[in-house]
Symmetry: C2
Subunit: 592 residues, 2 copies
């Protein structure tokens, strides 16, 4: 079935059911960032393989909304089909719900699978449509009827993360969650976020590509906890452990039943941005719903002492892999043909050599020359570029270890860098150092830090189009909420123990991109008469490229920071490196 | 009647009407920042004269909530009465609505004059109380019954601001507002904000201390405009002008009637943070209410070219007054006894010499030595300090001219400054310069700029407890929304034409405070491959104190900026100064 055949089958069903438009979002019942294949309905329907986008089919039009990261890719992938591209974020492009409310007629019905749309979004869409006398049918899933070769639900083996890694038992974590439930006036709690569930139950899996999570729901009351998970994923050891911890295991799809049977005295806490609308509507109407962020979302962001100790060791392992990789790269170009895609495999092999390594924490970005100017470039067989002894090369990658998750970006020049490349690199580095060395009052939010990374670029009329940093999980998702360092005013304080990235960049379209990324841990500094001050501990060990630095643009304190960071990189990594790599690193980390 | 007698009279009425608690906020029906005496009910009841606070009377307790600015003053002013002080902002102090919901019993009624509480607040209070089975009676005004010597409603003469000052006619402004109403889907609009009304109708008055506004409401439809204002305030010339512009004038209290008679096809736009709850409830239930910020709030924040031209000239006038004042101060100490309060009068006289001057734009802060460490210090006969040839002196003041509003703070040392004073001053100045010289992408919000002012202090474990800047009106209120430069994530873009202050500070309790404040105007800079960039135009002309600067702490660009700013101050002001003052300014503005 090609795309147009899919569209026409959908329209046939729409006519039968008197539906004016169908919305197919990129989402699953857990509001995950990355989707298991089973839920890639928008991708299946449109042929567009990017991670974000929304398809809308009316009787006369088929439209795909996607953001600037994917405009080129989406246009090329929908070519030849009836799909039109709407460039989300452009000034004259309305949100799809506004477009529908402007395009359809009073009395029309819009269908949307309520399983995969969040409570907050469903309410928003309903409101926009109802203002024009239209309605939202959220119980209608037309896709399943025509998606005959739909992949099966993922069913990887779930496995326990030992307390010696997690630092806290699931019983302790459930106690923390119950404490937060009590404070919010709740006596029950529905969790749908896969990473929150993984963290709470010290459970990992492989249900989502590069995210070590399991498809599951959790229901927690002040007395009991139930994990809804496909029984095939659970072995007897895991079952025994959970039984010992008094956690019930039930099949994944039984969660609906329990929500429908809640008593009138139930006050159930759920996150309207994480819970699907269908599940929300399944809650017995007698129960009171308290809409609030999952307690686990906030709890897991603050890493415990044992996690932090592991992460410091993980930094050494990941740094060794990175340095081995960069050494290999510098010494292998021109020896044999190496490409963006092949070096991704090579780096994976270097990481795999490290103890406790499990998998990449995301698909690495290996971007050569003008490819590196696209901050979300992903090499494909068609685009895969051969690396030569010239030009800029950006490598953004990370690993998931039993001992933590990593995320690092380095940019190098494979030949002799030009003046502009050196100036740009140095300005990005200044922003990186300004964040890394920041001292700030307790209570500061990420959006207050973000400007520190941009100011040197702004002064030169430059900027970068992504946030300065995101939260990172512990052997979990590489993008983790709720804290961020970004111009978006996320009202979340940077608390001691939060793990984030520090990754300013600069992208010259058609030429090259630069991004310099380390992970940083929020820590307490000293107290003054002005209150408690906070700082970041640097959590990534890998040299920057001194050949790309203009030392005249660096201040004394910036140079000192860089030299002392490089000293630390050499000290911590060299004992784990082969002598010739250590010697190479010694040169790379020499003082400037 | 003393405070306790007032409390007991209130309680008598509460018993008669079966009311468990009365809330008396600091507010008027226009949600003004400063209140006309007629609405200072909280002040009358408690004896506390600060601008912000909420009184709550239950059958057994009388409590005053106020924020950190007023803790000392409030404690002293309620001493001897039954009022207890609740320090708003302290960790264990609940908001008054939460306290009430925890303290009262199910079924209890809380009274609050709905005229003076905003729609947004009333809805919040109702929700909090209803969760505990309590109710809010918003139609009950117990204060008026016992406040027998209540001052009359203000009735200053309203006067027209000529189009040659305003730059746009009221007809043009109404057209802009109607355009915005149309975009919001509204065909009617209720305006209660006094400054929005003053701006829209090019009308000024003296109904509120130092705010050149008139008590009024406005009702605007796509065809007509009605101003509800006390007829005594309107002379025949004004009436003729408004009649010519087809604007109806009706008595202030007739606004309720028109809201009650709105037809079913009315879609009325109103700002839930500006409109009182009683007026909101007066809207005919058949009409649809669209809750949105007043169009005028956003329109008036962006100054037009004529206003900007006036403001540049106003900067010269205000700068001349300031320099004359600072010259006089330096040469008068020890000659005669001068105090914080007396110098306020002297500065007022210097401003009065300038053409188009109308009044202070706020009560000036004149703070000597340790008084300057209190950022909201207001000298009183009890605290009034005599100035000597030693120590730090902070002066924060502004004028309202027909040609614009000013706001400026300078800090000087009346003797020989110490090392710490010099270091502190220089760090504050670095923040000030960093904001003044900022280049930033179009779309940047104030909270992204705020950090630029703080970073040098943060690095030394210091900070200041107020925002870096606020919007300023044009011959209007010195604090004007919606844009701010502050750590609060106000989601408002800094647009070309917005006028703000740039006023970082530092306060060492018990010792001294420093604040350095200029006004800045958002302007376009150049466009680069990264988009349009914006900058600030400095709008205040008065030297900084070079004797308080450590030039070793200033970078080359910072020193250059300062020297060129000083050159500009001398060039623009010296032609308007007496020769000996000009000569003095020449020395003060010499290069460092």
């Amino acid at each position: 079935m090609n795309t147009n055949e899919k569209i026409s089958q959908l329209r046939k069903q729409m006519t039968e059911r008197n539906i004016a438009a169908v919305v197919v979002p990129s989402a699953d019942p857990h509001q995950s960032e990355y989707l298991a294949k089973y839920w890639q309905a928008r991708q299946w329907l449109t042929g567009f393989t990017g991670s974000a986008g929304t398809a809308v089919i009316t009787k006369t039009q088929a439209i795909l909304w996607t953001d600037f990261r994917y405009w080129i890719q989406a246009a090329s992938q929908i070519k030849g089909s009836d799909f039109e591209l709407f460039k989300q974020g452009e000034e004259d492009v309305p949100d799809f719900e506004d477009w529908l409310s402007q395009t359809l007629s009073k009395g029309d019905t819009v269908a949307l699978d309520g399983n995969v749309v969040s409570v907050a979004n469903a309410k928003k869409y309903k409101m926009v449509l109802s203002q024009k006398g239209m309605s939202l049918a959220s119980e209608v899933d037309l896709i399943s009827n025509i998606w005959t070769d739909r992949p099966p639900m993922p069913a990887s083996r779930a496995f326990l993360l030992s307390d010696t890694y997690a630092g806290k038992t699931r019983i302790e974590k459930l106690a923390q969650i119950r404490d937060a439930m009590g404070k919010a006036g709740a006596n029950a709690h529905l969790m749908t976020s896969l990473e929150d569930i993984a963290w709470t139950f010290n459970l990992r899996g492989e249900d989502v590509h590069t995210n070590p999570v399991n498809l599951a729901f959790a229901f927690v009351t002040l007395e009991k906890a139930i994990l809804f998970i496909n029984p095939d994923k659970v072995d007897s050891a895991l079952l025994a452990q959970f039984t010992g911890d008094k956690i019930d295991l039930r099949p994944y799809d039984q969660v609906t039943g329990i929500l429908g049977s809640l008593g009138k005295d139930t006050r159930i806490l759920l996150d309207p941005d994480a819970v699907g609308y269908t599940l929300y509507r399944a809650v017995n109407s007698g129960a009171k719903i308290i809409e609030k962020v999952n307690p686990a979302t906030e709890l897991k962001a603050v890493k415990n002492e044992i996690e932090i100790t592991h992460m410091r060791q993980t930094a050494v392992k990941d740094g060794v892999a990175m340095v081995n990789f960069l050494y290999w790269l510098e010494n292998s170009i021109d020896d044999k043909p190496i490409s963006e895609m092949s070096v991704a495999n090579t780096l994976f092999e270097f990481r795999k050599e490290q103890p406790d390594f499990v998998n990449n924490s995301f698909d690495p970005i290996m971007a050569y020359k003008d490819h590196s100017a696209m901050c979300h470039y992903s090499a494909s067989p068609e685009s895969d570029a051969l690396l030569k002894k010239e030009g800029m090369f950006l490598t953004d990658s990370g690993g998931n270890y039993l001992t933590g998750t990593t995320d690092i970006t380095r940019t190098i020049n494979l030949g002799i860098p030009g003046k502009q490349e050196i100036k740009d690199y140095t300005l990005v580095l200044k922003g990186h150092i300004c964040v890394a060395t920041a001292l700030f009052p307790k209570g500061t939010k990420g959006f207050q830090i973000d400007t520190l990374a941009r100011q040197f670029l702004w002064k030169e009329g430059m900027n970068f189009g992504h946030g300065t940093g995101h939260g990172v999980g512990f052997f979990l998702c590489v993008h983790e909420g709720p804290a961020r360092i970004s111009p978006h005013p996320i009202d979340v304080e940077l608390k001691k123990g939060m793990l984030l990235t520090n990754e300013p960049g600069l992208y010259r379209e058609g030429h090259y991109g630069i991004r310099l990324e380390n992970m940083i841990l929020v820590d307490e500094a000293h107290e003054t008469e002005f209150g408690q001050f906070m700082k970041f501990e640097n959590m990534t060990l890998c040299h920057f490229e001194t050949s790309l630095m203009d030392r005249h643009l660096l201040s004394g304190p910036e140079t000192n920071y860089l030299n002392s960071y490089h000293e630390q990189v050499y000290e911590k990594l060299s004992p784990c490196l082969d002598p010739e790599v250590a010697a190479w690193l010694k040169k790379k980390t020499g003082p400037i």
